[in-house]
Amino acid sequence: MLGDCRNYRVGLRNQLPIPLQPANSDRLLGKVRHAHYAFPMTMPMTPLAVTAYTATSALGHGLAAQLDALAHGRSGLRLNDFSSADLACWIGRVDGVEDAAVPAALADWDCRNNRLAWLGLQQDGFVEKVRVARTRYGANRIALLLGTSTASIGTTEEAYRRLDADGGFADDMLRPAVHAPHSLGAFTAAALELTGPCLTVSTACSSSAKVFASAERLIRLGVVDAAVVGGVDTLCDSVLFGFNALELVSAAPCRPFDAERDGISIGEAAGFALLERMEVAPDAPRLVGYGEASDAHHMSTPHPEGLGAELALKDALSRAALDASRVDYINLHGTASRKNDEVEAALVNRSFPATTRASSTKGYTGHTLGAAGIVEAVVALLAIEHGVVPGNLGGDSPDPDCGESFAWRSEQRRIDVALSNSFGFGGNNACLAFARAGFTA
């Protein structure tokens, strides 16, 4: 269906916003409200090379640990041993964060989130690859765009747990930059010695997917030549007790797309990628598309028919000039909440043939919230590089709503095109599309 768009889009290039035809919206979106889709036509983008990437999660530090667990169906979840008060749930905790000190010169930035950021940056030679890019382009020609939902709120929580006798922050907590959402971005800019545009995206669980979109725009406009993107979220009381208050946390390890699923397991993670123009790395995997859209439905419940998720998917496929049938693997948002998985399974069923393999990897890492976008972008890139479709861990009794696309066990197969879905509170949806170097639609 999107192939059609491609054919007539060519003639419309360079024209100003073209409304989607109502008939088209109707067919693509089902019988939900469709009076408002006068969006500009999405133009195909020039792909970008992903010249480096890394992730650190409950599965371990770096790519090899992620790949090994994904290929062998090994979960990183454990019983909650983190929250400041008892809470019966499972979590995806990263080992070694407590010992991962930030560089001495950046001691003012010390907090769990920035420690995890620094630990994550050390993996897979990522810091060295950024150093090479810095030499090539100049420090102010590389954007730094990071997603987070928690930032270092865990440190602000700690400050409130041990206020001074006068009711103010203790002396060691009087570090204003740590008590702000941009803590992660500003720390990482200092740690990587980057002086280009620097922005923290915080749209809950889609945060570190949307940074790829921001990066593509800045590179396309020539504001920068490259971008470091990624995200870091860490366990803290805010998210553990907050999601618990919403009755969205399972007492057991999360079971995405399982008939008996009863909530999420919260995790923490760090992930990063370096994006450059294709010419400098013709053999690197590529970011070929991205899509973003809003549900306009509810702050903490997805649109019942997945409207925003579907718009984001269509937007990503249009930008990649791809028909859905060319997608080999899609890493689903798949949180194991009743509603998300129901809506997302229906979207997969109506959008993709059985040859498109689909799975959630939240059963391995937990839901890493603001870091989920980059962690699962990394899963998509690993799928392309290593020909691995991770099995949908936790789905031992598959929800009958899930169609033929669902990969319940890990599979080995060639993956040329992989998508990653990320949906957040506030009805904030993003979809990323990656492809093997040399792949043409």
Binding site: Y37, S202, G426
Partner: protein, 268 residues
Amino acid sequence: MSKLRVWVEGIGLWSPHLVDFGALRQVLAGDVPAPPPKRPAATTLSPNERRRAPEGVLLAVEVAGQAVSMSARDPSILSCVFSSSHGDQPITDYMCATLAQAPAELSPIRFHNSVHNAPVGYWTIATGCHAPSTAVAAQRASFGAGLLEAVSQVLTGQRPVLLVCSDTAGSGPLGEVTHCSESFAVALVLAPVAGPSSVATLDLQVLAGDTDDPLPEPLAQWRRGNPSATSLALLALLNQGSGRCHLAASTGLELQVDVVRIDKELAE
């Protein structure tokens, strides 16, 4: 890199001293405008949502509504970039205080209102907007960095974008370290081409630098009291008609913005 040009079609503004952009123009003309009501009206929200919405949402929705109304654009198709240095500080203060004392009693609604994208979430729900929406932060550079994100969306997507930058006043022990003495919010509707609602062009360049443009009082004092009020350098120029200002985009990087108001450009 060539200059980045966008057209301003709408301007929204709210602080405890300024009910809208017109009030700022009065201040700059030497008048004393009537102070706004204690809470922003935020009439874009339904009465129910307005009652429930936290202060950070009311603030952002108020200025967004003003700017979109001035632009005469349909809000349901505007891409949204909502920026804030600190998010909703009264909610963060509530969350941290509750977690320190009785974590199991945390309010689920205040938790979902605590996400940085709560204002843009409420806005898209209120306006039926399915366009892309984002929420960003960059400390004192939140307005400049948000403007760069918005402009990049305008120019690459060839579509109008709503930019909001807002910060509530500090609250509780957290207020001691954020140094936000009062709330401030600004909004702009930005478009890729001239249209019937265009009021000014902005030509932006991204340059190394850390220029602190001088501002007259009381604007300089307001700017010190809230990160979102760094936008006053640009707002003063939009009042004046033309000129150049500088907005921090990150540490050591700034946007140099050349403003030309449309009526003045036509007159020349």
